[in-house]
Structures are given as C-alpha cells and as structure tokens.
C-alpha cells in the first residue's frame, strides 16, 4: 500500500520548523552556558529566517497537500510570515530574560517554534482533525511558556489559568467539531462545504457551528470568552505575552476565516449575525475594560480584545474584501503591538516597577528611542493617520460598508473613540509626566523562590540578572536588541502608514485565496 503523494516543496516550511525545533532542543542540552545563551537563540532565529524564506519561495501556490489535509495558499503563507515576525521579535525580547534562562534555553525556544508550527498547521488546516491537531500544538507549548518565569508567582498562576481555560476552549471546540462531522458525514472542509445547503438548518450542524464558534472565540479572546486574557497576559513573561498577543490572535483569526468562510460559508446567514453581535460586545467590553487599567500588560490585553472585535467585522462580511481587510489588520496589528511590548520589556528590566504605567513616566525626556516607538504604537492602535492603524481601520470599515454592514463600521469608530481614553493615557505617561511621580521600585519580593530553585546561589544569580535593588527609574541597561525591535516595529508602522500599497497587495492575494467567496 502506498501513502499519499506529498508535495514536499509546499510542505517545506512546516518541515523546516519541525527540524529547527528539534535542533534547537538538542543544542539546548549543551553544557556550556555560552552555547545555551548564545547559540540557541541564534539557531532559533535562523530557523525562523529559513522558514520565512521557504514561505516566500512558495508564494502564489494554491494546493491542498498531504491527502488534502493541509491547504497551502497565500492566506496560509501570509499568516505564517506574521507568526514568524511575532516569533522573531519574541526571540529577541527573550534573549536576556530570566524566563528563558530558568526554563533552560533549549526548551524555551523549541517550545516557541513548536507553537509557531501549531499555528501554521492550524491556519493551513483543510480538515477538522488537522484543525484540532494544530489547535493543540499551538496551545500546549504556550501553556508551558506562560509558566516559564518560575520565580514569579503570577507566571505560574498565569500558566495554570491558561491551561484550565484553554482546555475548556479546546473541549468545546472538539465537541463542536464532532457535531459538524456527525452532520456532514466527513471531516474535510470540502465535504462540509459540499454538504452545505443540505444541512444548513440541521440542528446537529447548527449546534456544532455554535460550539466551534465558542471554542475559537476563547482563543481569539472574543468577549464574553475573554476573561482569561488580562490575567494570563499580566502573569506571563512579557516576551511571551507579546508573542501570544500577536501570533495567537493571528492564528485564531486565520482559522476562523478559513473554517467559516470556506467550510461553513453556506450557513453564513446563521452565523454572521451571531458574529456581528459578538463583535459589538467585544468592542464594548475591550474598550471599556481597558480604561481603568494601570498595568500596561492588562491594558494591552483589553486593547487586544477590542482589536479582536474590529477584526471580527472583517469575518462577518464574508467577502474576499473582508478576508483581505482582516489579514491586513492582523499584519499591522503585529507590528503595532510588538513595538509596545518591546518598550514594556525594556522598562520592566530598568525601572523596577514591573509593567505599571508609571514605569513610563518621563520616558520622553530620558529615552527618546523607547518613547517614540511607544507613542507611535499607541497612536497606531488608536487609528491615527500617518500610521498603519489608520488604513487598517479604513479597510475594515470599507469591507463592512461594502456588504451592507455600515452600522458595524460606526461601532468600530465609536469603539476607537472610547479607546483614546486609555491609549492617550499611555502617551501622557511617556511625555507629560515627570519621573519624580514614579512610585518607589518594588524590588523586594521579585526574587522570591517558589517551586523551582530556591537556593541562595540561584537567588543571587537572579538578582544579578535583574535590576539591582534601588536602581530606580533612571537606570539604563544595555539592551540594544530590545530597542531594535521597538524601533523597527515603529518604523514599519509609519512606513505602512505612508505607503501601504505593498501590504494591500499581499492582503488581497490572501483574500483571493478563499475562492468560495466573491
């Protein structure tokens, strides 16, 4: 018996990621600390670069490979590049972090690559079973990564919380997938789409759609399934938070786009109003929730909820334009957020007040290279012109109005208006507050041994790696890679704000990949 014919060229990005993850894991076993701290991240970056190269090489392909289990097309490849950008930034931000060291460098970076692989499989999935495999492959490494900062109580709490809530989400999703299979009699998306009109008002089918919607809404932090987001984001090591905020979100939206716009498109009249309602709730909950936050990571968590609401508008309209608008927004969403997370990482290490908003006080005066990226990121998230966020919003509103959802466009802009209240608060902290208003650093308590380690030597090591007690807000650490991430992301935000056409072309290719839509 012969196995299915496999187009290895189309599969190459997946192979590269898997191989890279194994090599990184093995390299992490090296005894030399220098190899672990130096070579492992470099190998990870190399894997990312090779995968990105392969993805670009395979551009404009449209082929269902491995017995039609994986759909490799421009949508998959575009989103893969988005995940890789998020992962590359996460590697750079983790370079000197305590989290990656405590987790043993190899495991940390290998898990990161595995998670990217899971995302790639998820958005390429053309079959319900593959979808679930991708979903779990993405989630399980992240549960671990959230808890890697083992000396911080919140990190463990965050990992555990994510595990529990994530499992509920996975279970719901799996249950829903089972219903879909039961109704359609096949697991491939093609079978689902073919069965489409026959089962469109089958109760079994509709129950399945609803449960799948809920399961994916958990992952995309769509309200009211978003409650885990602020807690997990706050507790996880900041580079991982940044990665989750951008890449997981992109993966969740990728699979929503493919599943709903390809497999379930025949039931669009049923699920589109439900998603539209969820979008409105999400926009309101996210924006209102963010207003009172003083922790920057919680603030960005709620902001990511709100942004998920905007992007849902692109899903609701079920047109290629909507897909393109969502992909466009996802791409710029990555750079806008990473700039902010890079600045938070830098300030966490320097200021000693964690990710509190007061860590940014006076930044405009003392650290312009961090202040401007933060400012640009916030302006872009709020949708100000001359940043990419402006065109992202225009494109989404355009897609919404184009298919008769003008009211959803209005909801988006009203949400953006509310969001100013918190984005501008961050900008005010950067430029308009004096560093003297910063509360005393909370150095004590951060080196508290919890379950792992706990020896005196380990504590001393942690203290040396972190902030020296009493260093205060003025301390400057040499962390060029973090500043680099912030500045590059901010620059990309501005460049796409002035000349977005290349990104529009990519997004349109991705949208055209969904041939079932008009």
């Amino acid at each position: 018996m012969k196995g299915p014919a496999i187009n290895w060229e189309a599969l190459s990005p997946f192979v590269a990621l898997t191989a890279g993850a194994c090599i990184v894991l093995l390299a992490g076993l090296a005894r030399s600390r220098g190899v672990r701290r130096g070579a492992v991240p470099v190998l990870t970056l190399l894997t990312i670069a090779v995968t990105a190269g392969l993805a670009v090489w395979q551009w404009d392909i449209r082929e269902a490979i491995v017995a039609k289990a994986l759909m490799v097309d421009d949508l998959t490849l575009t989103l893969l590049l988005v995940f890789l950008a998020g992962a590359a930034a996460a590697v750079l931000l983790s370079w000197r972090s305590e989290a990656s060291e405590e987790a043993g460098e190899g495991e940390y970076y290998a898990l990161l690559l595995m998670s990217v692989l899971g995302m790639a499989v998820l958005v390429a999935a053309n079959d319900l079973v593959v979808l679930f495999i991708g979903f779990e492959l993405l989630s399980i490494p992240l549960y671990v990564l959230c808890a890697t900062h083992m000396r911080r109580e919140q990190s463990l709490e965050s990992g555990l919380k994510y595990l529990i809530i994530g499992s509920v989400g996975s279970a719901t999703l799996l249950y829903g997938l089972a219903f879909l299979y039961g109704a359609a009699g096949g697991t491939s998306f093609d079978a689902l789409a073919a069965a489409g009109s026959r089962i469109a008002d089958d109760v079994l089918f509709l129950t399945g759609v609803a449960l799948v919607m809920v399961g994916l809404a958990f992952k995309a932090s769509v309200a009211p399934f978003h409650q885990w987001t602020p807690d997990v984001y706050e507790g996880a090591p900041t580079p991982i938070t940044g990665f989750m905020a951008v890449a997981t979100k992109a993966a969740a939206f990728g699979v929503i786009l493919r599943l709903f716009d390809v497999a379930l498109v025949s039931a669009a009249t049923t699920w589109a109003p439900a998603f539209a309602t969820l979008a409105v709730i999400t926009i309101v909950v996210g924006n209102v929730g963010a207003i009172g936050q003083s922790s920057l990571k919680r603030l960005l968590a709620y902001s990511s909820v709100a942004q998920a609401g905007y992007m849902l508008a692109g899903v609701v309209v079920t047109t290629r334009l909507g897909v393109a608008a969502t992909v466009f927004y996802l791409a710029i969403y990555v750079v806008m957020n990473l700039a902010a997370f890079a600045v938070i990482v830098a300030r966490e290490r320097e200021a000693g007040v964690g990710d509190d908003i007061s860590s940014l006080y006076g930044l405009g005066r003392s650290r312009p290279w961090l202040a401007w990226p933060m400012t640009i990121s916030m302006l872009a998230l709020a949708g100000f012109p001359a940043t990419a966020g402006f065109f992202g919003k225009i494109y989404l509103i355009n897609a919404a109005v184009d298919n008769g959802y003008a009211w959803l466009g209005i909801v988006i802009v009203v949400g953006s208006a509310v969001s100013l209240a918190y984005y501008l608060r961050v900008i005010a902290a950067v430029w308009m507050r004096a560093p003297s208003e910063t509360p005393a650093p909370l150095v004590a308590g951060r080196a508290r041994p919890l379950i792992a380690g706990g020896s005196a030597e380990a504590d001393a090591e942690a203290r040396a790696a972190g902030v020296a007690p009493g260093a205060g807000a003025g301390a400057r650490l040499r962390q060029p890679e973090v500043v680099f991430v912030a500045v590059v992301c901010a620059l990309v935000t501005i460049v796409f704000g002035l000349y977005p056409q290349p990104l529009f072309d990519v997004a349109r290719d991705a949208g055209n990949a969904i041939v079932s839509l008009i």
């Binding site: 012109p385 001359a386 003008a406 208006a417 501008l424 056409q501």
Partner: protein, 487 residues
C-alpha cells in the same frame, strides 16, 4: 503635474525633523519657505482657472485613494493665511524660545502646519480626512507638554471631543466612497471630483451628512459642541494657540464649503434652516460669554465661537447669489488675521501684569505703551467689524446673504454685530485704559515683539483696503459650490 504643493505641504514637517539642532533658525526657515510659496501662488493664480497647481498621482489603488492636491479659489487665501500665521508664530517662538525642549515644540507646531496645509489642498476625501485627523496630534502634545495648569486632562478632553467627530467622519467618508461606487457602478474612488459627479441618493446623504457636520461643528467649535474649548484655550501655550485659533478652526469652515455642500446637496437643502438657527445661537451665546468672562484667553475663545457662528451662518445661507458663502470665506480669513495678533497681545499684556491673564488685573497699560495700544486698538476695531475693515465687508455679505434667504434669522444675527463691539471694546478698555492695575508695570513694545505684531497689523490694514483680492479669486468657486445646492 507639479511638485509645488507637495513641497508647500511637507516642507514644514520634514524641515521640522531637524529642529532639534537649532530650533530657532530651522523653525523660521521651515515656516518661511511655504510663506514665500503661498505668496507666489497668489500672484500666479488665474482667477478663472479653476483647480490649479494640481498634483495627481496614484497612492493606494486598492482603496481608490489618490494623492491629489490642488488649489482653487476656496483654498487659495486660506493657504496664504495659514502660512502667514505659522510664520508669525515661528517668529514669536524665535524671539521667545520655550525653556523646555524648544526643538520638539517647534517640530510639533510645524507638523500642525503641514496637517492644516494638507487639509486645505487635499482633493481626495481620504487624504482630507487623514490631514484633518493628523492636525490633532501635534496640538495634543503641545497642550499636554507645554500647557499651563491642568494640561493633561485638558489635552485629553480636546482630543476625545474632536476625535469623536473626526472618527465618525472617517466612517462617513468611507461610506460615501463605497456607496457612491456601488450606486454608480464605477470603481471605488475617494477623489472629490468623482464623488461630486455621482451624488448619493437623498436618504443616504442625510445620515452621512450628519457625521461630517458633527466633525466640523466640534472643530469650529460651535454651540453646543464647544465643551473642550475653554479648558484647551486656558492652558495651550500662546504661540500654538495663535495658530490653533487662527487657522485650525478655519479648516472646519472650509470643510463645509469643500465637502459638505458639494457632496450632500440634498441633505444641506433640507437641514440648512436648522444650521442657521444653530449658527445664530452660537453667535449670541459666544458673544454673551465673551463679555462676561474675565480671562483674556476665554474672551477671545468665546468671541471665536461667535465669529465662527457668523461663518456658519454665511455658509448655510444658500442664497441665490452666494453672497453669504463669499462673506463666510472672507470672514474666515479676517478672523484668522485678527485673532492671532490678539493672542500675542495677551502674552504682552500678561508680561506687564506679573503674568496674569485676567483682565481685572490689567488697566492703564496704555500710558507707557502707546505703540502697543495703537496696534491693539486697530486689531480690536477690526474684530468688531468697524466699517472700513475687511471684517465689515465680510459680516455685511454674510448678513446680506442670510437676509435674502431667511429674513428673521438675519435680524437676530445682526444683534451679534452689536454685541461684538461690546466685548471687543470691553477687552480693550479694561486692559489699556481705566485705573492702573495694582500689579501693572507697563512698558513699551520692544523691537523684537514689534517684529511679530506690526506685520500682522499691517496685513489687517492692507486687507481692509483690498478685500476684493480674496473675494474675486474665491467668487467663482464659491458660486459653483453654493449653486449646486440651490439648483
């Protein structure tokens, strides 16, 4: 296809990036080049030529957004006004550098100039919205970083208030383009001439009209959307405020003429009476507030509410001869020209009264400062539309237009002319004459301050003699705009 307008618009901001090295000279050069350009453009302008100096290039084909800039009779003089006021502000900054981060201050002000110029010359709806929203960013930073008391809440309030309007306008703009494309069967296009050629059905026009009108009424500000104005005016640094009050509010008036009237004629026709009523309330409310306030900045702020009420009145008069709109355009220029020097005068008065900006602390400043007094008097008389001033011509045309449109409203609005003399003269007399205030230490206008103030006052005088210049070049464009509605 010319580069002129691109240079005009972007020179200030790009040059401003260098302001960290030498804020004084970079600021002056960055503001002088556009001024020279604008003067040359006015000289070179062909009155019967329609849209001129056009730049039309593809920018974002995916969205049908083109990089189209152009100047016509509506925008020509407003461009000149912007460059004049910006240069005056830069001159003021050059002689009085802020002690804290002058480079950044200069950069933000220049970015503001770029945004305003961009909004005036944009011939593409999305481009206009982009510049219109961009205008807010530098002023947020200027208020928040260099403002006085309560600067952070005031800055936040200003941004949220005005951006609520602008964001709704963004949705409205996208809806206009998308619905026009689907109605007419053409490709998606944001270019104004394409949109004007294919008007939307009346029902659609109405809801989109409100998103635009709200944005512009907030920006002006007009009663009852002026809530952000007192806080922002009280705390904004003066050189920025002179530019903001003199020019930024005019973009809103211009927006009505450029976008609202041509794009939504049916909606304007059905709602214009309501806007006339709103304008009259603005005039009366602003005037009454202006003569009860004691803070000099707020007197000017509320007087601006009243003046912009006049401008709104002229725009929505929609009279057959388009006299109201012509008056409105003239008055927009006049108001910018008088309000900017008045803000500089406030700074000079405050210097003579231990920094107070309350007119109760002033008095008797005239005795030792005759030149300053003369300059102040000329500006104040222009503000109250003394016959012979260009403001008189402007208000006269506005009232004439309103009279031939809705008589009753013209009668009530004429009260505003009287009230203007009350608040302008009260401000002038309380400061310059009366008993010498306890904290007043008057001295003559210094040469360097005269350098800023005298040319502005000369411009007012020159314009009083030749308001025809602006009227003639604007006449054709205004008439086409208004008659599209009344047709």
């Amino acid at each position: 296809m010319t580069l002129h307008l691109t240079i005009l618009v972007f020179f200030p901001a790009v040059c401003g990036l260098l302001a960290a090295f030498n804020p004084r000279w970079v600021g002056l050069i960055a503001a002088f080049v556009p001024l020279a350009y604008a003067v040359a453009m006015v000289a070179d302008f062909d009155v019967a030529g329609g849209l001129q100096f056009v730049t039309d290039d593809k920018w974002i084909p995916a969205l049908g957004i083109r990089y189209k800039l152009g100047v016509d009779g509506l925008s020509l003089w407003l461009v000149l006004l912007t460059t004049v006021i910006a240069f005056a502000s830069m001159l003021w900054l050059a002689v009085r550098q802020p002690s804290d981060r002058p480079g950044l201050f200069t950069f933000h002000l220049l970015l503001g100039e770029t945004a305003v110029l961009g909004a005036f010359v944009a011939q593409d709806l999305a481009l206009f919205v982009l510049f219109f929203d961009l205008m807010l960013v530098p002023f947020y930073f200027l208020v928040g970083q260099w403002g006085g008391e309560n600067r952070i809440p005031a800055a936040l309030k200003m941004v949220i208030y005005t951006l609520v309007g602008s964001l709704l306008m963004l949705a409205g703009a996208v809806a206009t383009a998308v619905l026009t494309a689907s109605n007419s069967g053409h490709d998606l296009s944001f270019v104004l001439s394409d949109l004007v050629a294919n008007p939307l059905p009346a029902g659609t026009q109405k809801w989109i009209f409100f998103t635009f009108a709200l944005a512009f009424l907030i920006k002006m500000p007009s009663f009852p959307f002026h809530g952000w104005m007192p806080d922002a005016y009280r705390t904004m640094p003066l050189p920025a405020l002179a530019f903001f009050s003199g020019v930024v509010s005019k973009v809103a008036a211009y927006g009505f003429l450029r976008l609202v009237l041509p794009l939504f004629p049916a909606a304007v026709e059905s709602f214009h009476t309501w806007f006339l009523v709103l304008a009259v309330i603005s005039i009366l409310y602003g005037s009454v507030q202006a003569f009860t306030q004691t803070n000099a900045r707020l007197i000017l702020g509320y007087s601006s509410v009243a003046q912009l009420g006049f401008i709104t009145l002229g725009i929505f008069a929609i009279d057959a001869a388009a006299q109201g709109a012509q008056g409105a355009l003239l008055q927009a220029i006049n108001h910018g020209l008088v309000v900017a020097p008045l803000f500089f005068v406030i700074a000079l008065l405050a210097e003579r009264a231990e920094g107070s900006e309350d007119i109760r602390d002033y008095g008797g400043i005239a005795f030792r400062a005759p030149v300053l007094t003369v300059l102040f008097l000329i500006t104040a008389l222009a503000t109250l539309a003394m016959p012979g001033s260009a403001n008189f011509a402007g208000e006269f045309l506005i009232l004439l237009g309103t009279f031939s449109s809705v008589q009753a409203i013209a009668f009530v609005a004429a009260l505003g002319v009287i009230l203007a003399s009350v608040y302008a003269l009260r401000f002038y007399f309380r400061s310059m004459h009366y008993r010498v205030g306890a904290q007043v230490q008057s001295f003559e206008l210094s040469l360097r301050d005269g350098l800023v103030l005298v040319p502005l006052v000369l411009a007012i005088l020159a314009f009083a003699l030749y308001p025809q210049l602006a009227l003639q070049s604007g006449e054709e464009a205004v008439k086409t705009t208004v008659q599209a509605v009344s047709r």
